[in-house]
């Protein structure tokens, strides 16, 4: 299933946050959205998944979601959003219960996603017992459980330390290599973008517009740490953003 953004504009009151964004998210690819802070990249992600309504323009699904898909557009949040009173297993079964999937069927799905995210030994643990990286893996497992057509990842690694981030990037690459998924990945970290993105969309500062779209052809599994080609792209992206990032940083927030 593809997603097409058709001339999306969005404002909060008098503040225009996004202007004329048209973009295709092709099936089986990871599209990274990068841009200076406050450029509306998280807002764009909320528009794509229907958590907010765009002031202008439309988000269109092209084609039917794959069979067995319970929740076509599924988020992974920066703050994990796990229910602290439910165990790892309970947090995953939460999103299955509403679809009437219980008992043995739910068990099968939960065991499968826990195995894929290497969490099988922790199914009874409560979120407070888990490290940040483990919590995010639970959130990823929960997202996988509903067999999404498109994963919407909102700065999923930004709350983690750099070592955990590195490990989780490897996990995401391994997950994608095993079974390619479609994703939109919002991040301010360019290293993550060049590591995980097939297509990197650079947004300008507020109001966010598409400045440039960079395609990276090298397959995900071949993008090792400190690859010179990737570093070059990363530098290029940073050069595109540097001045705007500085300006965005010095801007007063009127909220």
């Amino acid at each position: 299933m593809d997603i097409r953004l058709d001339e999306i504009s969005h404002s909060y009151g008098d503040t225009e946050v996004l202007r004329d964004i048209s973009l295709d998210i092709p099936d089986g690819k990871i599209v990274c959205l990068v841009g200076p802070s406050g450029c509306g990249k998280s807002t764009l992600l909320r528009l794509i998944g229907g958590l907010e309504r765009a002031s202008k323009g439309r988000v269109i699904q092209l084609g039917a979601p794959p069979e067995g898909c319970l929740n076509p557009l599924t988020y992974v949040f920066q703050d994990f959003a796990l229910l602290p009173w439910r165990s790892v297993r309970g947090n995953i079964s939460l999103v299955l219960e509403d679809h009437g999937i219980k008992a043995a069927r739910a068990d099968a799905i939960i065991s499968d996603v826990l195995a894929r995210t290497k969490l099988s030994d922790f199914s009874k643990a409560l979120p407070r017992q888990l490290s940040g990286g483990m919590k995010q893996r639970v959130a990823i497992a929960r997202a996988l459980a509903v067999k999404p057509a498109v994963m919407l990842l909102d700065e999923p690694l930004s709350a983690l330390d750099s070592q955990t981030r590195e490990l989780l990037m490897d996990d995401l690459v391994a997950l994608w290599a095993r079974q390619p998924f479609t994703a939109t990945y919002v991040t301010h970290n360019l290293q993550e973008a060049v590591r995980l993105g097939h297509r990197i969309v650079v947004l300008s500062r507020r109001p966010g517009q598409i400045r440039e779209i960079v395609e990276i052809d090298r397959p995900l599994v071949e993008r090792q740490h400190r690859n010179p080609e990737l570093e070059k792209i990363q530098r290029y992206l940073w050069d595109l953003m540097r001045e705007e990032a500085r300006a965005a940083d010095e801007e007063l927030l009127d909220v």
Partner: protein, 269 residues
């Protein structure tokens, strides 16, 4: 600093952390009670507390024993407990429902918050005659008074607790396509539970206060009736025996809620 001797003399860094983290000290609470009772007992025995000021704790205890042996204790306790249970259950459950509605719906909030704010400061005891007219002099008016008194603090605590539920969890529920009802039942209510339970602590204490007020009118038996009768006769031993029962009731209810909290909110830490 500029002093030469200061430079040569090493000074150990003074510890300045610590504190601000109360720990469980199980027997201290009991020790405070025992200490106060011992002071009262020795004071009344030696005479520096006059018999008119305070009764002897041992006399109060003896009165309590008499109450127990004559079977009067349960004759008074049973109606009181049933009034408390029925009244508080009605008040707290309606309070939780209304509090959740205020927490979830803009119109309920706009319409009911001012009303609750207007009702809250009314001394419910002042409305007792009104309740007698509305509900008659029997049990119903007592239930109503206790229910009314527990209702307002429960509402305020509940909608505050619902407001404090992490919005990102609700957004998560929506993003996974959970139904409205599922979000309320599986995310909002468990998330609000800590606040609701701590509100219940206050509501139940108020229910005990109002129990005595409710039994001022037309109650033959009941802890409140017993205390009021003793009070009007200046029978301090019986008065204190009654008060001790109410205190014990408060302690028991608070312990029960503590138990429920540990059971239900084990996920917190």
């Amino acid at each position: 600093m500029s002093n030469a001797t200061d430079k040569t003399q090493p000074i150990e860094v003074r510890f300045r952390g610590g504190g601000f983290a109360p720990k469980s000290r199980r027997w201290v609470g009991l020790a405070v009670f025992v200490f106060l009772i011992v002071v009262m007992e020795t004071g009344t025995r030696s005479g520096w507390i006059s018999a008119l000021t305070l009764p002897k704790p041992s006399d109060v205890f003896a009165t309590f024993g008499e109450l127990w042996e004559s079977g009067l204790l349960f004759k008074h306790l049973a109606p009181s407990l049933s009034r408390l249970a029925v009244g508080a259950a009605i008040g707290a459950s309606i309070g939780i429902v209304v509090g959740v509605l205020i927490g979830l719906f803009s119109y309920a909030r706009a319409g009911l918050v001012p009303l609750v704010a207007a009702i809250f400061p009314i001394p419910k005891i002042a409305l007792l005659p009104l309740f007698v007219i509305w509900f008659g002099i029997d049990e119903t008016s007592k239930y109503a008074l206790i229910a009314f008194g527990t209702f307002t603090p429960t509402v305020v605590a509940t909608y505050g607790a619902v407001d404090n539920v992490d919005r990102s969890l609700i957004r998560m529920g929506q993003s996974f396509g959970l139904s409205w009802f599922s979000i309320v039942r599986k995310i909002v209510l468990p998330g609000a539970m800590p606040g609701i339970l701590s509100g219940l602590r206050i509501s139940l204490a108020i229910a005990i206060i109002l129990l005595v007020a409710a039994e001022m009118l037309g109650a033959e038996y009941g802890i409140g009736a017993y205390i009021l009768e003793a009070g009007s006769l200046y029978d301090l031993e019986r008065l204190f025996a009654g008060v001790v029962i109410l205190s014990l009731l408060g302690v028991i209810l608070s312990t029960v809620i503590g138990f429920i909290e540990r059971h239900l909110l084990g996920w917190r830490e």
